[in-house]
Amino acid sequence: MTHYLLSVHSVEGEVREPVTDEEMARSHEQLAVLEQELKSAGAWVVSGRLHESATATVVRMAGGEMVTTDGPFVESKEHLGGFYIIQAEDLDAALGWASKVTGAIKVPIEVRPFAGFEA
């Protein structure tokens, strides 16, 4: 089994197509069903949705001192919006789960293997 990160990247300030309450509800429902499916298949490890990048804080070592600064680590337009960590037999299985996620939320999903989790 290999662990994969399925990540959802949101673009700051991007105007998404207007989503009706009904569509939103359906998308949430699909995600709930999918999460259940991931769990019963033994594929789910952890998943989560993140607040927008403006809520981020960075700590770093600078000249031997710990410095805390406001804002995301990388000033870019794209930020991690949410993720799943799953375990799957191979990339095809991981891509299968990723296509279900993208089917539910209609945005691209990046799939990356974890280093050092291989059985």
Binding site: T2, Y4, D90, L91, E118
Partner: protein, 410 residues
């Protein structure tokens, strides 16, 4: 073994030929057992090094491919025994080994019977870039050296070496599977495999850098057609390559310049290849699942049927292009259809179709426009279009042909 005659005529070239033919199969079998491409590559190379030393002395064994696979497997096991991580891996694969001892025996029943088929689907996995797919296929299934693969695509050897390392690393790290896709996935997964083989053929056609590429593409297409006998597009691709290959020698003059289809010496076309293509195509027609490769092959078959260019059945060719445009609605197909329309309805009708296409970056677009403008007597516009095409043409032969005014110069 110990056959004196065989030993007498065996040399490095002969071992090289056997390497081309057998290394893909041996490599695929070893990857199947050990699940590690690098280990398999090293072991197969070592086995051939042993062969190069031993065969000239002892003669070629009756089943050279099986001998290579067995020798390579022993070499891989020896190497794994020397490493702790390897011993772990060995205990995992131990259960697989007895059944694999007979190299002639397929590892399992069902539609999947050959490790090379798994390997080509791994090499052409959609998670890899097209460049990486082509490079891996030539390296692992074609038995080309990194240097030869690099030369085929006009890139520096270190660049190609890095590309191969990166691709193999991704296969391992992301666990790109080593299996043949299931029936419902097959159409999507077969597409890049066929595209890679077609690309390899065309690379051989348009460059003299690596002359063996056309033969290699046909070998891969034949292998795929044998392993997937029920896929009509696989058969279609093979037929298309055979028809194209039948005319390859007539395509260039001794000085390297290009000869267009209508001006080729048709007595030089390879009838054996044409007949083989026609037989395959007839089987496709009976199955009645037309696709882009089958239709392109059919168009080529119509050309092959005509003893002279005047006897070409243009209405049939246009009808086939109409169907091709239905399954592959690309501007390039539309351009080729317009060329056939010109033969049937004249250059004015064809030019109107061509002018609507968004193909400014594609040099055959300018060459076609030039031909049609010339046909309409608009010579200065034609000359400008020929210059435009010549400036963009990828090979010397094509550049030279266009610079001299293409068809207009004849």
């Amino acid at each position: 073994m110990g056959d004196g005659d065989a030993a007498g005529r065996l040399d490095g070239e002969e071992v090289g030929r056997i390497f081309r033919e057998e290394s893909g199969r041996s490599l695929a079998a070893l990857i199947g057992v050990f699940g590690d491409i690098d280990l398999a590559e090293e072991a197969v190379q070592e086995a051939f090094a042993v062969a190069l030393r031993r065969w000239p002395r002892d003669g070629v064994p009756p089943n050279p491919g099986g001998w290579i696979t067995t020798t390579a497997r022993h070499h891989a096991i020896d190497r794994l025994r020397r490493e702790a991580r390897g011993r772990e891996l060995l205990s995992e694969v131990a259960v697989l080994l007895p059944g694999r001892d007979d190299p002639g025996k397929p590892p399992e029943v069902g539609p999947v019977q050959d490790d090379r088929l798994r390997l080509i689907f791994t090499c052409c996995h959609p998670a890899l870039s097209t460049q990486a797919q082509v490079a891996l296929t030539l390296r692992l299934l074609g038995g080309l050296s990194t240097k030869e693969v690099a030369r085929s695509f006009l890139v520096a050897e270190p660049t190609m070496a890095r590309r191969l390392v990166r691709a193999k690393h991704k296969i391992k790290a992301a666990r790109i599977p080593y299996r043949v896709p299931e029936a419902h996935e097959l159409p999507d997964r077969l597409r890049p495999v066929l595209a890679v083989i077609y690309l390899v053929y065309n690379a051989g056609l348009s460059s003299s850098a690596e002359p063996g590429l056309c033969a290699e593409a046909i070998r891969l297409a034949r292998m795929l057609a044998t392993l997937l006998p029920d896929e009509p597009e696989v058969a279609g691709l093979l037929a298309l390559l055979l028809f194209t290959e039948s005319r390859r020698a007539s395509r260039t003059r001794p000085n390297g310049s290009l000869v267009v289809l209508g001006e080729q010496d048709r007595s030089q076309w390879d009838r054996g290849l044409i007949e083989e293509g026609q037989t395959i195509l007839r089987q496709c027609v009976r199955r009645n699942h037309p696709g882009a490769y089958q239709l392109q092959a059919a168009i080529n078959a119509v050309h092959a049927d005509a003893a002279t260019v005047e006897e070409t059945d243009w209405p049939q060719i246009v009808a086939l292009y109409d169907r091709l445009l239905g399954v592959a609605p690309t501007p390039v197909v539309a351009l080729n259809r317009a060329i056939a329309i010109a033969e049937l309805h004249g250059p004015a009708v064809a030019l109107a179709l061509v002018e609507e296409l968004d193909l400014d970056h594609y040099y055959p677009f300018h060459a076609t426009r030039a031909d049609l403008l010339w046909g309409l007597g608009r010579n200065s516009e034609a000359a400008a279009a020929y210059q435009r095409a010549a400036a963009m043409a990828p090979t010397d032969a094509e550049r030279e042909f266009l610079r001299l005014g293409g068809r207009a110069s004849r």
